[in-house]
Symmetry: D2
Subunit: 258 residues, 4 copies
């Protein structure tokens, strides 16, 4: 599938401050970027701090006054393993070194707290079957509800509240998988068919020798996700980090099939 992406952001900055942008399609093996353009207006120098391990693209620039950021890309999604059933868990010793940190509790994903629940509820399953059961459980017990959570909400909150938005669903999925010693991380993505259009937060687990995207919200097809940023949880994948203050003027995302 080939998707056309467009993001348009306008913010106003009272004083000059640095901005980190995680908005561009990742250079990852499961997607090919056929064309793309990042335009910042007024024009400014962009420093690149891209990450070669995950393919995450990172642009840093100094913003002042009213600033518009436009990103367009034409991305082809390549064979994507969304199959979970029957996938074997990978032994710790066989993990790639960079996967280790995705086994640990993180800010929004205090996975060490869920070990008893995971053992009780999913203890008889392994690998991909366990992950599939976790995704089903979350889909069946959580309500998608805008306003049910905020920037401080952790997976413990969501597990109790039984409601949240995409990042909360992802945080709980990540926490439960890590509690089962399965590496799990957060991914931001442009999502085909997501309504209303927005950057989507999903999870990704390491199984059977590769990372596999999962999405307990069921709001958009896995096969229509364009990978952007990758990290421990939402703390790592915000599309814009402002080292200072700014006011949002407008913001829109569009994803279309070509």
């Amino acid at each position: 599938m080939r998707l056309s992406i467009q993001a348009d952001l306008t913010y106003s900055f009272d004083r000059p401050c640095e901005v980190l942008l995680l908005l561009e399609a990742a250079r990852a093996p499961d997607q090919a970027i056929h064309s793309e353009r990042l335009t910042i207006t007024p024009a400014t120098e962009i420093a690149r701090l891209d990450d070669s391990v995950t393919g995450e693209r990172r642009a840093v620039f100094t913003a002042h006054g009213e600033v518009t950021i436009a990103y367009t890309a034409n991305v082809e999604l390549l064979a994507r393993a969304s199959d979970l059933k029957g996938c074997a868990a990978t032994a710790i010793r066989d993990l790639p070194g960079e996967a280790l940190r995705y086994l640990r509790a993180s800010r929004y994903c205090p996975s060490d707290r869920f070990e008893a629940f995971v053992a009780e509820e999913f203890g008889k399953l392994d690998g991909g079957d366990k992950v599939a059961a976790i995704v089903d459980w979350i889909g069946g017990h959580l309500t998608y509800e805008v306003g049910a959570s905020d920037a401080m909400t952790t997976a413990m909150d969501t597990f109790v509240d039984r409601a949240g938005v995409c990042r909360d669903f992802a945080h709980l999925a990540i926490s439960l998988c890590r509690a089962a010693d399965i590496p799990a991380r957060a991914v931001s993505a442009y999502a085909w068919k997501l309504e209303p259009p927005d950057l989507h937060a999903v999870a990704e687990v390491y199984l059977g020798g590769r990372w596999r995207l999962i999405d307990a919200t069921g709001l958009a097809p896995i096969d229509g996700l364009v990978r952007v940023a990758t990290g421990l949880d939402a703390a790592d994948i915000a599309f814009m980090t402002i080292f200072g203050r700014a006011n949002l003027i407008s913001q829109s995302f569009t994803v279309g099939k070509i």
Copy 2:
């Protein structure tokens, strides 16, 4: 049933400080105190701040040096409603005024967080049937485990951790009942057959026009509980509050059938 109670506490206080003791059997309609004696050594003046609403007994004194507190009582347990099945919930308007505060979230019982869970899991039940189902759920999903919790553990922690001690079981029961608009509170009690002997923490709900004791731990019979302190949660029912510092030297509780 008639029980003989004995509590012996020895602490050492480096400097004089006030101590609040909630150790004596409550003067409540469901138990009759046939004899009792509270002895503090060395002898000291005891101020009484007893609560006429709950019958809670409160002794305040100044402690310095090594202090021994001995309490013995002979208490008869009167007809106690432990029946839940079929009990109707009481409308808010028909509650006694002092029951209102037991509907609210408290420190260890953030009941407002459990509304969605309670609606999902117990929404089809009412009154005593709902409470009975809550007690069963807790008994079936929590493991009694010394060391799984500490003085800061809330019902949210316990709900996630799936383990705790008697106060944690009580906190979760209280939280879930309040989330269903059923007044619920914490009670400390001498407990016949509890092993090892200790002051026990249980919960109490207001149903069918009266307070009814419940205990999701199943560690001791409801009919063998001698009521001591009553409050919102564990913050209110500690048997000793020291306004300063002290070191525990020894502490023992004995409950026997006469």
Copy 3:
């Protein structure tokens, strides 16, 4: 000083549900209610669960459809001790029994966490001087900022965030006073000169044999507060508790000097 109070609330209730209203001026020794009227439209039976200890007025009724609640009163504020300097702390043994619970940590006021800070920062002061220093410290270190907090914010959050609204200021004051073994509680009040007009949350400490109002926000004069509800913290003093769901249509408060 004599004040005229007016509160007008309109809510819509999809299904019949009970409502607890803590909106009327308390029957307390420091204020005299010369006239008042509570009108609920459409007319409905009102059950009264007033509290004789604090003078808190509690109205319970069943609401359905669009419901308007109007409260008007003419209240005279009597001699009010707002003096703190030189007031002695009261020994625990000399407290009225009902003050004991205001020494304990509560949901939004985890006072036991602040003992080291209070000892370090205010350890050389006592009684009213200590409370005055606490009020000054809060006024000097916190920013009044709408949106800095939400319904889950505790005094620990506020102490770290250094910002909040009136209830957060009150929670921190209560926490620090309790950490110094001074009984402290939350009070809701109609506040003369408060802009924008709203029900105000302040704190109250027990010193020199009586309760004394304090307000670290400095937003309204202590002498112009009409006492309404009293409790451990904001969990207890909400002016309306809805046992079900409702939508706010409009809400206004007016306080004028007569």
Copy 4:
């Protein structure tokens, strides 16, 4: 300075489980390992997942029964920049890509909560002077107290409690530095002169183009630290992660000057 290190750990494992060990001296530019030996008894195959970016050494093996781990090394500490005064902060755009994640809030270091405090208390300072003031503030306001914290304690807890152990001091330093947009991370280290001998937790900030160790506890000289693991906070630098259960039998650390 040249140090000789010895670590001896004995654990018992009821069932075979994988173990991740972050116990070996890092291969970092500020220290040279002249000799070392890691011995696991009974002998077992060791998989290496070393991290080339930080030089962190990671050994993974399967443990069963009683297992003894012995590590000895002879390490020379090279020129180490512990100077802070006058060091300039590095612009975001000039940071190495891998430093970005050390700007973000993490599990034990919710740095976004401390922005107002840092602005108020250290706002007039920059770069190394700001970090030095933060280290001084922590040293002056926190008490080193074993038992004051546990495995769940965050920098918010420590900021309120005013007490903790080395990891808590490090977490608060990291949080305050990140709140000032200075990359900061956690480092475990063998520490010369630390009493009692143990693996020490310290912090590290990125200033003037390089990472600089800081230690607000003042318990051991910076120049006597042998770097081991590096991460966001304590969640990342535990010297042993057991994917299953084990019992500690004995554990000792020795650091001597050669």
